[in-house]
């Protein structure tokens, strides 16, 4: 079993499938009166968050608590300029406290890799800079599988600010591992250079959302921050929305079985129209629920055996 989950690339197909299967078992817990398992009793999970992300933190916290782990929330928000204690010193502190796993959210890409070199426990990447967010990709894959019955062979369009998206990077890698065909869609300014060669599975790239929709089984809309337009990634929110937003007419171009995903938080009216977000194709609420199951599966597989 793997020791850390720093990148979706840490997962081969067998391990990724095992996590999704395990998440399926964990999901049955949600329907029970007693939503708690004794599995990780006596184990300590630290949520080390250098960025505000209440959604992700409570999702990990719920996952760890349902497995009876002790949870320590360590909020270490601070900018690089006013950095207090260094990540290394914090790591040594957590090490001394006997953390079995550290879930880290950090604004700097690669911070989980650095952390893993300083602690003995498992490191779980809960989002690092513009790099990756592998548990998001797992919950997305789980959601696709539960809605569509499979992942292998699916056409998945990931639409929006791929350049700054850790969700997109992790999804591209995991979906390639699981046999889906990914197309990245967005304005050329927001598609990273050399992405086709850079990523396993060689995703396709399109600048034309309308041409991609008729063949898509899954459309994953990424959050687009309006601040990007000050940096001239696109001229205006209105133009972005017109070219790359998922509105009702566009949604009608999708095959009848296709689903619409969004990692949240959404900019309603920017990348996704409210009617689309609230439609029956939308999996947005399921994704949140599935997040807890997927994270339980990850914590169990990292911590549920011999260290």
């Amino acid at each position: 079993m793997i020791k850390h989950l720093r990148s979706a690339a840490d997962l081969d197909a067998a391990t990724a499938t095992l996590i999704l299967d395990t998440a399926g078992e964990m999901a049955t817990l949600a329907g029970r009166e007693v939503k708690k398992l004794p599995t990780l009793r006596g184990r300590t999970v630290v949520n080390l968050f250098y960025e505000d992300s209440t959604r992700t933190r409570i999702s990990f916290e719920a996952a760890a608590k349902r497995l009876s782990a002790d949870v320590i929330n360590f909020s270490a928000k601070g900018s690089s300029v006013s950095k207090g204690e260094s990540l290394k010193d914090t790591a040594l502190t957590l090490q001394a406290m006997g953390a079995d796993a550290v879930v880290i959210r950090h604004p700097a890409s690669g911070a989980p890799h650095r952390l893993a070199s300083w602690v003995d426990g498992s490191v779980v990447n809960a989002g690092d800079g513009t790099h990756e967010h592998p548990t998001q990709a797992l919950l997305d894959a789980y959601t696709m599988r539960s809605r569509l019955g499979r992942i292998d062979g699916l056409n998945v369009a990931i639409v929006g600010d791929v350049l700054h998206s850790r969700v997109a990077r992790s999804n591209v890698l995991l979906l390639a591992t699981l046999g889906a065909k990914v197309t990245l869609v967005g304005p050329p300014t927001l598609i990273p250079v050399d992405i086709v060669a850079a990523m396993a599975g060689g995703p396709k790239v399109s600048y034309d959302l309308d041409s991609v929709l008729p063949d898509a089984d899954v459309v994953m809309m990424l959050r687009v921050q309006t601040e990007r337009m000050q940096d001239s990634y696109f001229p205006s929110a209105r133009e972005y929305s017109r070219r790359y937003g998922l509105d009702v007419p566009r949604m009608r171009k999708l095959p009848s079985h296709a689903i619409v995903m969004h990692p949240g938080p959404m900019n309603r009216g920017m990348e996704i129209a409210p009617e689309v977000a609230d439609s029956s194709r939308s999996t947005i609420v399921e994704q949140v629920a599935n997040g807890v199951s997927a994270r339980m599966a990850v914590l169990y597989l990292l911590l549920g055996g011999k260290a």
């Binding site: 260094s86 650095r114 070199s117 690092d128 250079v193």
Partner: protein
Amino acid sequence: MTAYRIKGVSLLGAEPADLFVRDGMISGAVADAETVDADGLVALPGLVDLHTHLREPGREDAETVETGSRAAAVGGYTAVCAMANTSPVADTAGVVEQVWRLGREAGLVDVQPIGAVTVGLAGKQLAELGAMATSAAGVRIFSDDGHCVADPRLMRRALEYVKAFDGIIAQHAEEPRLTEGAQMHEGEVSTRLGLTGWPAVAEEAIIARDVLLAEHVGSRLHVCHVSTAGSVEVLRHAKARGVRVTAEVTPHHLLLTDELATSYDPVFKVNPPLRTAADVAALRQALIDGVIDIVATDHAPHAVEDKECEWAYARPGMVGLETALPVVLSVLGEQWELIAERMSRTPARIAGLTGHGTDLAVGTPANLTLVDPSARRVVDPAGLTSRSRNTPYAGTTLPGRIVATFLRGEPTVLDGKAVK
């Protein structure tokens, strides 16, 4: 002064012979000389580094003029040019004279200060270049290294102004608007790692502009740490047109690639960043062809806390003085003439250091280094002479060992160790 008989040394790969040193000069045979056994060793003119960060004044926890000088001597150098981005910045006669004096006091290599082009490296206003040129330090090279002189009008003025005292502007070629927030080479690896890219064009665009400016005003331009294949093409074109431009490449850009960033270990973070294998190949060929004139270390020592952190928060730079010759040997092989040209004679000529980079003929200053080309060494950061440990070669086996270095006839290094 003690006279030395360097016994059985191969001068630049020639048949072994005895080399005599007396009164600071290479001399004819001396009867009562102390013998240095140089069996199997190659003598090179003392190496000259056109690009060294000694960190003093300001960051003496990372390096001082003395510790950096010692590291240089251990690396086979007899002269180094100290970059201006100290704190305070070397933008006045006072600071460059201080550095120059500290170098003299250390007495391990000749420390030739480089002056800042603009006040505080801010890129707004010319520093008092003339005052630095006529100071005791005799500054000849000016650079805002670490920062690009990005304003084209200011760059033009700087190039023109230093003609009055045969100065050179050494440009750190980096268009700052194209590298905002940049962390590593922009390409496949940066995309995979989610690190903001430093595009090759940001370097190439500035070099292209600057060679045209240098041609226009008839000035001398030196390009620091060339790192891309595209820059090589721009330089080749400029040299063919007769532009008075020289260029340097660092040892690390001749050996390492951006793939190393995959570890997120900031020991591989440097500016300009490590590039692709294709860039490395082009730089090697350019060094052989002479499109790139010299190897310069860009020795950039950093304190531990500035490297043991997240990649984005780490300072860019690598120590390089003690590994430069082994890296170049591994890249070029035992081409001693070429190595002497690229690491000693040409940098000495560019910097105007007349006592360095000579042919080790009788009557020339005895600035030289002795190398054992058959030795192999595993780089151990803890074993470095520099005050800092940020070498990208930890655990790497490199060829060649610097056995001894002589500065004006006096050994600064014997048996691989600094004499003082």
